[in-house]
């Protein structure tokens, strides 16, 4: 590390000078800039789209590999990049470009923290109906990882709310797709492709979202199911009713205890109350209705930096998945029971006989047998290279072809996404 810091050679100085020339703040990287343990050489902080494009062009001209970075809350997700020379930090790109309140549309730069955006929208009686179970992240980072939380049941995920995007391609080309009207089918919808692309197809520079009015009232209905089967039955009953829940979540600690189920209903004050009552009746005698969320709501389980799994399965397989996770000694399971998208964490610590790869494969096989998929979102430091984070990926050949078109030199977060298969 020390070597790196002192070895700012002539080549590095030339790159820094070129980065400086873009108008972006540029500097040699420090120890705090490592991306999943991989130390970059430079950091550039563009303040706007033009600077971001100029920085990406410099990276192209000098053949630098690039890691886009927001506030770094999910920088340890995916594989460590195989190369990482330039960090492009988006935090200075944090403007609200346009909030067309009457049109329920907002356009923001990628470096804006999502929490700040929600505060701003809240003041106008609106919201982006996207929950993020890991606070502090930027709009760009949330999109790049396609992270979503409880309200996805009613509103879908980030890709369903994104209506326009501006990206900077690997060679510095600025490209836009979509627009600022909700209804629009002109051209390919590249926003969908960029959502969940982990910075491998380009730098997300700004994003336009459709917004929703903030509902007048919200009620949480809480109950504890003694078995996974009961939890699944409740969820099915709520889904089969006409109460239109905004979210149906579950939370289960390791060790085979009860499963907490929480249902959120939102709407007009006159409606939310009675609907919460209907839900409570479906969840049995122990159900209670509150105005506040339970403490675990919209929070990733586990500790920062620990192994985090995301499981998707049919809703009818949730009880089976919970049982499989019990057998595997999972320390926590939490997430959207209504859409059957769950976060899970391994035993802490793992039994000495088991390694993370073995644990992941065991769970993945059980989940696959139930018709689901398991993806490791975050591996503990140093462990990712020994894990198959994504598991089988249908359409992988097409994805690789897409990557090669958008980033022919494989300079954008190389190996970060899908491609690093331990043999």
């Amino acid at each position: 590390m020390g070597d790196r810091m002192t070895a700012v050679d002539a080549g590095d100085r030339a790159v820094l000078a070129a980065l400086d020339g873009t108008g972006a703040a540029a500097r040699a990287a420090g120890p705090g800039d490592a991306v999943a343990g991989v130390p970059p050489r430079f950091v550039a902080e563009p303040a706007d789209l033009a600077q971001a494009a100029a920085v990406m062009r410099v990276a192209h001209d000098h053949g630098l590999s690039v890691a886009p970075r927001g506030r770094g809350t999910k920088l340890d997700w995916g594989y460590p990049p195989s190369r990482c020379e330039l960090v492009v930090d988006t935090r200075r790109m944090a403007r609200v470009v346009e909030h067309a309140a009457g049109d329920l549309v907002v356009r923001v730069e990628a470096g804006l923290p999502l929490d700040e955006l929600q505060d701003l929208l809240g003041a106008a009686g609106q919201r982006l109906a996207l929950d993020v179970p890991l606070p502090g992240g930027t709009v760009g980072g949330v999109l790049a990882t396609a992270l979503s939380g409880p309200r996805r049941l009613l509103y879908g995920t980030a890709r369903d709310l994104l209506i326009g995007i501006t990206v900077v391609r690997a060679d510095g080309t600025v490209a836009r797709s979509g627009g600022k009207v909700v209804k629009n089918v002109a051209g390919y919808d590249l926003g969908k492709l960029y959502t969940g692309s982990y910075g491998t197809l380009g730098l997300i520079a700004d994003a336009t979202f459709r917004l929703h009015p903030r509902p007048a009232a919200q009620r949480f209905v809480l109950a504890e199911a003694d078995t996974p089967e009961t939890a699944q039955r409740w969820v099915a009953a709520v889904r089969a009713s006409s109460v239109v829940p905004t979210a149906v979540e579950l939370d289960r600690a390791g060790g085979g205890g009860p499963t907490a189920v929480a249902v959120l209903v939102e709407g007009a004050a006159a409606g939310a109350g009675p609907r919460a009552g209907q839900v409570a009746a479906l969840l049995g005698a122990g159900a209670s209705v509150r105005e506040e969320a339970p403490p675990w709501w919209n929070r990733l389980p586990g500790r920062p930096g620990g192994l985090l799994l995301r499981i998707g399965c049919p809703t009818g397989a949730v009880a089976g998945v919970l049982a499989a996770l019990d057998r595997a000694g999972a320390s926590a399971v939490r997430g959207s029971a209504g859409t059957a998208s769950l976060f899970a964490t391994p035993p802490e610590p793992l039994p000495s006989a088991e390694d993370p790869a073995g644990w992941v494969e065991r769970v993945r096989a059980d989940v696959a047998a139930l018709g689901g998929t398991a993806v490791v979102l975050r591996a503990p430091a140093g462990a990712a290279d020994r894990l198959d984070l994504w598991g089988p990926v249908p359409g992988a050949a097409l994805m690789r072809a897409i990557k090669s078109q958008f980033d022919p030199d494989h300079r954008l977060n190389p190996s970060r996404f899908l491609g690093w298969r331990a043999s």
Binding site: G125, G156, R176
Partner: protein, 485 residues
């Protein structure tokens, strides 16, 4: 046709004798979609019944470098399914099975030729329905809906086709059968999202898994009559501003009302310069509360009459005029162009005034029927095709309306797609770099541009190797332990 002759026996071997159409008269029946002024007789037509047949046909086309075009029901309004005389038209009309309805998972799996409404019909016994509801839903295919990312009157609240597709089986342009999506958070890039709305240019959908929604507990519909579209526009803005999200808000102007009256005698209030149809659905208590609010806001905005549907029959009567509007203008004009542009909702009054000015200046009448809630205009540009030059003038007005949409930050198409018809307008909305970037996706999946060429993009991109320094192959890649990504 001559070039394609060698394909015929092999296509017959794949699709059966009756699955290949060579007869000129029969081929001619496929010469256009709903936009009849674009027409071309397809070189050959095939009617496959299985995914494997589609894949084999596509592979055969690939072998011979012959382009192909998918066609569902041919109701498209952008010449998306416009055939190629030198190509093969692959029609999905024999792939019409609803394969599965799963009431617990609330999904259905269908073949691409299944009619949109047939999905809801199959789901209805379970209290479920398929939300995207284009006005053509009785005959348009789900495959066509996927290709166009079709909308409908109720997409204001429920979103478009793309928000309701869980998974796809696709035959890629090189004849591979791939599964895309399928469950929540399917790993990898969102290829379902990329495919939906790609207008047949990225391959052919052969199986479609759609999300079903629970039939709402209550539906309430009103018809509000205003003196002018301006007043109607105010009502729309105040409803949305009040935090109400109706299932649908539709507007018709005086000329559209006149046409609908002539065609179906819908009996809308006399003297209306505009009518709004507003529908709310959902849980009863919420809907009742918001419905009262909507009625009040309409009156405040100047509605001189508000009719509230008391039952399903009255609701159908209110919708009748709106649903017949496209066809109805045939009663007041020998020919017309249906336009499909979008503006931000708040720009509606201004844009409608400008359209009226355009109309006055050119002497071309324009009837407006539109999805007001999401600013999706469907101006019907009326002309007499017997009058020399009228068609050209109408096309000019129609194009000028698109310019207005773009000028106000909108889109050249909200739901009908770009197809062959609007490809030339794409550069007005997108830069050369934007279009080039979109076509990177095309190059990745269909580098030879065999799947529906000539649609969406005004100029095809050459998909050759992109020049660039390739450096530093990672050692793990070199040693075969990892794939470069």
């Amino acid at each position: 046709m001559t070039d394609l002759a060698p394909l015929v026996p092999r296509l017959r071997a794949i699709c059966g004798d009756d699955g290949v159409v060579t007869d000129e008269t029969r081929r001619r029946t496929y010469e256009s979609d709903g936009l009849t002024y674009h027409a071309a007789v397809p070189g050959l037509v095939v009617l496959p019944t299985t995914t494997e047949q589609v894949a084999a046909v596509v592979r055969l086309c690939g072998e011979h470098g012959v382009p192909f075009v998918a066609r569902g029901s041919g109701t498209g309004l952008s010449a998306g399914a416009l055939p190629l005389p030198e190509g093969v038209l692959i029609v999905t009309s024999r792939m019409r099975r609803v394969l599965r309805v799963d009431p617990v998972e609330q999904l259905a799996v269908v073949e691409p030729g299944v009619f949109n409404l047939a999905v809801t019909t199959a789901a209805a016994p379970y209290g479920l329905y398929y939300a995207p509801d284009p006005s053509s839903q009785q005959v348009c295919s789900v495959g066509g809906n996927v290709a166009e990312n079709s909308g409908g009157a109720h997409c204001l609240k429920y979103g478009f086709t793309v928000n309701h597709i869980l998974g796809l089986e696709v035959v890629t342009p090189d004849g591979e059968i791939v599964q895309l999506g399928g469950g929540p958070d399917a790993p990898g890039y969102d290829l379902v999202g990329a495919f939906v709305g790609s207008e047949g240019t990225l391959g052919i959908a052969t199986k479609i898994t759609v999300r079903l929604l629970r039939t709402p507990e209550t539906v309430r519909t009103l018809l509000a009559a205003f003196r002018s579209t301006d007043e109607g526009g105010v009502a729309v803005s105040s409803v949305i501003g009040a935090g109400v999200l109706p299932a649908a808000i539709e507007m018709m102007d005086a000329l559209a009302i006149e046409a609908a009256e002539a065609a179906v005698a819908c009996g809308y209030p006399e003297g209306a310069g505009a009518v709004l149809i507003i529908e709310l659905d959902g849980p009863a208590a919420d809907v009742e509360h918001e419905f009262a609010e909507v009625e009040r806001l309409c009156r405040e905005a100047g509605a001189f009459e508000v009719r509230i549907a008391a039952d399903a029959e009255e609701r159908a009567r209110i919708w009748k005029g709106r649903k017949s509007a496209f066809a109805a203008v045939g009663r007041i004009s020998p020919a017309y162009i249906v336009q499909d542009g979008v503006v931000p909702r708040t720009a509606l009054p201004e844009v409608l005034r400008r359209i009226a000015e355009l109309s006055a200046r050119s002497g071309i009448r324009v009837a407006n029927v539109f999805h007001a809630g999401d600013g999706n205009l469907h101006p019907l540009v009326l002309f007499d095709d017997a009058e020399p030059g009228a068609g050209e003038r109408a096309a000019e007005v129609s194009g000028a309306i698109l310019d207005l949409c773009i000028e106000h930050g909108g889109s050249i198409t909200g739901e009908h797609g770009v197809g062959a018809d609007k490809a030339k307008h794409m550069p007005a909305m997108f830069s050369a770099d934007d279009l080039d970037t979109m076509q990177l996706l095309r190059c990745a999946i269909d580098p030879r541009s065999l799947s529906n060429p000539g649609k969406v993009f005004p100029t095809p991109r050459l998909c050759g190797e992109v020049p660039g320094v390739r450096r530093g192959v990672h050692p793990l890649v070199a040693s075969g332990q990892a794939e470069q990504f």
